[in-house]
Symmetry: C2
Subunit: 206 residues, 2 copies
Amino acid sequence: MSRIRNKKQALILSAACEEFAKQGYAGTKIADIAAKIELPKANIYYYFKSKEILYRHVLESFIQPLLMATQPFDQYDHPAAALTDFIKLKIEISKNHPNASKVFANEILHGAPHLPPDIIEKLIQQTCLASAKLQQWIDKELMDDIDPLHLLFMLWASTQTYADFSWQIKLHLKSDEMQAQDFEVATDTLIKIVLKGCGISTQMAE
Amino acid sequence: MSRIRNKKQALILSAACEEFAKQGYAGTKIADIAAKIELPKANIYYYFKSKEILYRHVLESFIQPLLMATQPFDQYDHPAAALTDFIKLKIEISKNHPNASKVFANEILHGAPHLPPDIIEKLIQQTCLASAKLQQWIDKELMDDIDPLHLLFMLWASTQTYADFSWQIKLHLKSDEMQAQDFEVATDTLIKIVLKGCGISTQMAE
DNA sequence: GTCTATACTAGGATAGAC
DNA sequence: GTCTATCCTAGTATAGAC
């Protein structure tokens, strides 16, 4: 297991991620990936047995960041801190992993045909924990009586949209690339609406 | 232009919409569409000159509902009524046109490679009108000073998610199909968060 | 350990039979 | 106006040369 092997695998994975994000699974050709990093097509098959396996690697590389994002729900005992950090983290992910996010979105959009069952299980668990925590806060009257799952759906959608539908975002912001400032405004706007909208006091001690 | 022709075209379009939604553009084979409606493969080519043209028809069939959804911004002079109706309309679209919505989402996800320029132009115009109206309401202090574009991004994302990422929604709601009641809860939750979150009074006359 | 040549199949599209 | 047979390109994958 040479260092060259690891390096080339990483290179292929990175190119594959970009291509799968741009074209989708079916739309991506191994030749496209090979061309992008100036490698012979057959070389890809030398490092990854099949297109399917290469795709799975790309897909799974996004799971860790995704699961990490729910940490604030464990970490904090107040919805203000938890939701603020969760939104920040999720928009950071959209900013830093736009391609992996698109690959994942594409996967979900088509009914998750390539997503391994153990990952699905983990996602369900994380969601249960987060929604249970929200329900606790509702019971303690730290926030309004909002359906926790639908709140989560809203948060996922509004944060991921900055990666997944960036074409549309850029179109309306009239810029070729989203700037750091755009992400800041997105984050601040969302935090503001969500906290106030859920009746969450930003004073930690009441 | 026989009635039979129109009927068959409609049948093909409907099957194509489902397939394109499920598999994406590249992932859909003409044979799949043909098989679904028990028509010989070549027959599809008799009614639609190419896969590309068939896809464009599916895509464009969704533009009208999409543009209609912004009507509340023209129709009402108060953000409470406009945003309430807008959210209702958008979630209705997710409920009634889940497949077309997915096809459109897929298109945007991949940078809109098949979306005709005149449609892009129309979408920009609608967005400008809606965000201008929001800005007016902000200036009149009918709502908080929220960035209008980012508010729109949030609204699009959180309403479309019920069509585009329905796999995920169903997974967490633990049901095979979303029920009418789920859409109602989604609508009510979102309206509640957005109106309160934007500081919009639900009393029309203040 | 890396690249070339090539096998094999799928799928878009068409020509022409009926 | 509808279906069959077929062409042809493109794309996954492999066997084997170097």
